[in-house]
């Protein structure tokens, strides 16, 4: 016996009134996109629910993939069988033995098809007894079970559903617009990207690359991070902006202590320009209040002055450990801790201003003209497309060896 379906339930989305149709369509598209590797699986939508017909694909792999799609509240495996007690027995046994963590269970049978000879209150002990006889180490707990197996007897057949698996929550990506994220390669920015995406936002990324101060591997690191993020969306477009000249100019021509603040302002300006070109209406950063010199209240104030785009800072109130937890969950942590220099760790002033004065920053900055440098950096940026569909294939470059 095998699970034949995965049931998908959406939570918050269901509340969104007139937008609901649009959200549902977006979610359907996103689930289909995420399951592209499972050629036989088919995604269907009915009123208020969505399900995946597995058609022989590995249920756990498909489940895991679905759990990464934003906009899904919870999921369950389901087995479709005929209205037959023996098949039901086998189905409930299968459903529970797939869940190795379960120690207690409860059966909730519902008989919509009244022509089925066994009433539901008689069916519960029959099916429960079958499990107890065949499985060691599990017992019944009707009040607080680890697993509630739902059995629905309908005219077209019976459905047995397993426990609820948690979905990723949030809103379907693509349903709330686009934001330009500043992706450094550290631990924070990918998490900020993930959380922005969670609210249904499509992201594009900007990365500042300063060869030879930063290496190809630092760039690769950012591409790898973007690939991890692309799993949750569809594609991530990355703008790799050459930043060496601007950094050197800041370092040479402006006072050391304001170098960091001004560098950040340059980055913000460039990001805003790219956002404008690409039709993104916001900028996302991984800033967390007070974490480092550039993230004090004064620094944020001085840096934010260059843009009037909304700056989404999902991590602003989070502790480092909370951020690390999420980074580990979304598999970006191990990539982020690869020890390569990034553009923020070079040219670090000996004593950076932790409380830069906004007006002083502006007047210092005016002593040099960066407009040409910014335009030049924008023009010579490299654009890389990462597609979750194709990234599996990009990895094949060693395939002649394997």
């Amino acid at each position: 016996m095998q699970f034949s379906h995965i049931l998908i339930r959406f939570g918050e989305m269901a509340l969104k009134g007139k937008n609901r149709k649009h959200f549902e369509r977006q979610l359907l598209e996103n689930v289909q996109y995420r399951l592209h590797g499972f050629k036989k699986a088919v995604v269907k939508k009915t009123r208020g629910r969505m399900y995946v017909l597995l058609n022989g694909e590995d249920p756990h792999q498909v489940m895991e993939a679905c759990q990464q799609v934003f906009g899904i509240y919870s999921l369950s495996f389901a087995i479709h069988i005929e209205n037959d007690v023996e098949q039901l027995k086998e189905a409930v046994l299968h459903a529970i033995s797939e869940d190795t963590e379960a120690k207690t269970f409860k059966i909730s049978a519902k008989r919509a098809d009244k022509s089925f000879p066994v009433p539901s209150d008689e069916l519960n002990p029959i099916l429960g007894g079958h499990i107890l006889r065949h499985l060691d180490g599990v017992r019944v707990d009707v009040h607080d079970p680890d697993v509630e197996l739902k059995v629905e007897i309908r005219h077209e057949g019976s459905y047995v559903t397993s426990k609820d698996y948690r979905g990723a929550g949030g809103l379907p990506i693509g349903s709330t617009g686009k934001s330009m994220i500043m992706l450094s390669g550290g631990i924070d920015s990918p998490v900020a990207g993930y959380l922005t995406m969670k609210r249904g936002v499509e992201i594009e990324a900007v990365h500042f690359h300063s060869p030879p101060y930063t290496s190809e591997r630092a760039k690769q690191k950012v591409l790898d991070l973007a690939e991890k993020l692309s799993v949750y969306g569809k594609r991530v477009k990355i703008h790799i902006v050459p930043f060496t000249e601007i950094q050197q100019k800041i370092y040479k021509e402006l006072p050391d202590s304001y170098g960091m603040t001004i560098m950040r302002r340059m980055m913000m300006r460039i990001t805003e320009r790219i956002a404008k070109e690409e039709g993104a209406l916001a900028i996302t950063t991984g800033e967390s209040l007070g974490q480092v010199a550039s993230q004090t209240m004064e620094s944020m104030n001085a840096i934010n002055e260059v843009t009037n785009y909304p700056v989404i800072r999902p991590l602003v109130t989070m502790d480092k450990l909370e951020i690390i937890d999420i980074a580990k969950k979304i598999n970006t942590y191990d990539i982020s801790i690869r020890p390569y220099e990034d553009c923020c760790t070079i040219f670090v002033p000996k004593e950076p201003k932790t409380k830069p004065d906004r007006n002083k920053t502006i007047s210092i900055e005016q002593t040099a003209d960066f407009s040409e440098d910014i335009t030049k950096a924008l023009h010579s940026r490299e654009v890389v497309h990462i597609d979750s569909k194709k990234s599996a294939k990009q990895k094949e470059d060693f395939s002649d060896l394997f």
């Binding site: 895991e64 190795t100 963590e101 591997r217 690769q220 390569y340 990895k395 060693f398 060896l401 394997f402």
Partner: protein
Amino acid sequence: MIYLDNSATTRPFPGILDTFRQTADRYFANPSSIHPLGGEAERLLGASRERVLTALGVREGSIIFTSGGTESNNLAIKGAAFMHQSRGNHLITTKIEHPSVIEAFESLESFGFDVTYVDVDARGHVNPEAIREAIREDTILVSVMSVNNEIGSIQPLKEIGDVLRFYPKIYFHVDHVQGQGKIDLSLEKTGVDLCSISGHKIHGLKGTGMLYKKKHVRLFPLNHGGGQEQGNRAGTENLPGIVSFTKALRMIEEEKMEKKTELRGLRDYLYESLEGIDGIIVNSPIHAAPHIINFSMPGYKPEVVIHALAKRDIYISTKSACASKEPDKSAVLEACGAKDEVSTSALRVSLSYQSTKEELDIFLSSLIEVKNSLVQTSEV
């Protein structure tokens, strides 16, 4: 040549050496070097790791590349014991494990660990209940092999895993060296925390292998140094070995998909034929791994039989090539309760997916010839 000693080692698959040579030549840089050559080697290493995870059908967890089964077993057992000795010093294994497991446990006894060696039945099976009974408050590790290397018995790992489900703090190590590519084992469903696999038993190269480690399982490393393999095994990675191992793992899984039934059929044929020969006792259980058959010719010295067959260009072995405390006596068969005349005259035939019925027929007729021409060296 008729090679029937595939449990000792296997001949590398075609293309394995090419992969080794190409990797050694093209990706010679150290994956830890920060220049682009190192970066490329590091990416190849990462790609290998991901492919191994996929081949094993696990979704998360880490792969520690090692020098083979013995190292993997030692790292799993000693690594788990030393890391968690503050929590308990009781370990459980069985009486029929491979020497690299048994001896690792024996070495731990000298450090004050208490080891329970669980008995097996006459067919070489561990009773999951016996494992349950052996568990104590201070048990930290249970190690059971998937397929016995001498007689091919398959251990009830799923059932043992079900027992251990209720003891989440006890690590479950599986020595899967003989089972990989021959029997199905779902590491996640079975609840395996650590699993050893060797390269040269699956038509890869000597000096390659791996240890699977479930997420959150922590080991005390045997090798300290540059922090390679996520700090579990220091030392510059053997990238050509690792890549060739990855390839062998893929190929053996493909062979299994294609030829499992065929191999099973060959073994059944051999099993029945051997049982039909007068004076031969088949020691392997009927339901066992599809590639190992152990039998005894009481009264004949196994070494003599092997040499006589070798003269006819047929290669089989006695018990495990690695176990030799008492000459010719099999500790595994002894643990199964076999009489001395059986446990001292055991021979092992081990097949590969390349074995054919013609080869087995030649082997069988040669065996009868040898049996008839040799003088019994001891009374039965």
